[in-house]
Structures are given as structure tokens and as C-alpha cells.
Symmetry: C2
Subunit: 112 residues, 2 copies
Amino acid sequence: MEKIVEQGLLYDFYGELLTEHQKKIYEEAVYNDMSLSEIAEDIGISRQGVHDLIKRCDKILLDYESKLHLVEKFTRIKESIREINQISESAISENSEIQRIQQLSNEILAEL
Amino acid sequence: MEKIVEQGLLYDFYGELLTEHQKKIYEEAVYNDMSLSEIAEDIGISRQGVHDLIKRCDKILLDYESKLHLVEKFTRIKESIREINQISESAISENSEIQRIQQLSNEILAEL
């Protein structure tokens, strides 16, 4: 499962650098979760051929990541943005507390 | 100037996909702002050779961006983060107002 997630991420970033043929087979394996035999039958090449092509694509995508580290960079940014997002949600609920402060102080001022 | 900025950004993202030779010459031209003649003398190839190599690198880097759009994506994220950062600075100064509210309400409670 972990591997599929990583393959998907790497493909999201660098997939456009594969050939159309590689993309088609890689998508069927990683996104559509088709078996090697199913893909082999669909494309008209041997099961071993499909296996080798997917391994080759894995290596190409990993090579790009080992040079550019963009999946790693985006993943870190995404974690920080998730934290900022959570904090801002708490801040919004705190803001409703501030609205309550304003309401109370207005009520008190009206009584003074 | 605009071109140098863009060349620098593209190189920051995809530079590791160039060869060592290309990187060396591209860095001298784009980062160290050396003239074609200076680089030609330094490397020991013709001025025209340096010119052609830089054009070729520009094209390679632009081709990666036209496929992956990662500079574009990062630039958009960076703009949003700058805005979030500015807003959070205003929020911090607003927080000092809230501290004043607490101080005042504590003073009043102490008097009641």
C-alpha cells in the first residue's frame, strides 16, 4: 500500500516525463490496480514485458526524485500547510469568543 | 533582468537534470554573470559554442517546465504563503489588543 502511494506521488510529479506508452501501462498498474496479466493481455505484450516496463518506470521516477527532491519538498510544505490550516480553524473559533467579548462589553456599556 | 530571474528559477528546479559540463557553464553565465567571451576563455571552447550551449540549456529547462509546471506551482504557493504570513503578522498585533482586553478586565475584576 505504501509503495502504491509513493508510486502515485512520484507519478503525479514526474509522470509527464515518461513516454505515452510507459504512462499508459504505469497508470493501468498503479492507478487502475490492474494485474500484470490483465495489462499484458490488454496491451498485447508478455507479462514479463509489462513487469520490466513498470520496474523501469519506477527507476526513472525515483531517479528524478533523487536529483530534484520535489516530492520531498512538496510533502513537507503540505504538512506545514495542514498545521497552519488546523491552527487557523482554532483561531476562527477563538474569534467567536472575541465576538462574545464585544457583545458583553456592549451590554455592560448600555447599562452604565 | 526578468530573463535572468526566470533562468535562475528554472535552474533552481531542474538544474540537477543537466550534465556537469552544462551546469558549470550555465552557472557561470546566469549566476556569476560572466560574459560569453570570459566563459569561452575559461572553459577553452569558442564563444559561439558557449552561446549554443546556454541556448540548449534554456530549452532543456523550459521543456521540463512545460511538462511539469513545478516552477509555476511553487510560485503560486509562495505568493499565498507570503499573504498568509502578512495576515498572521496583523493577527499578532491584534493579539496584543486582546492581551490589553485581558489586562483591563483583570484590573476591573480586582476592583469589584
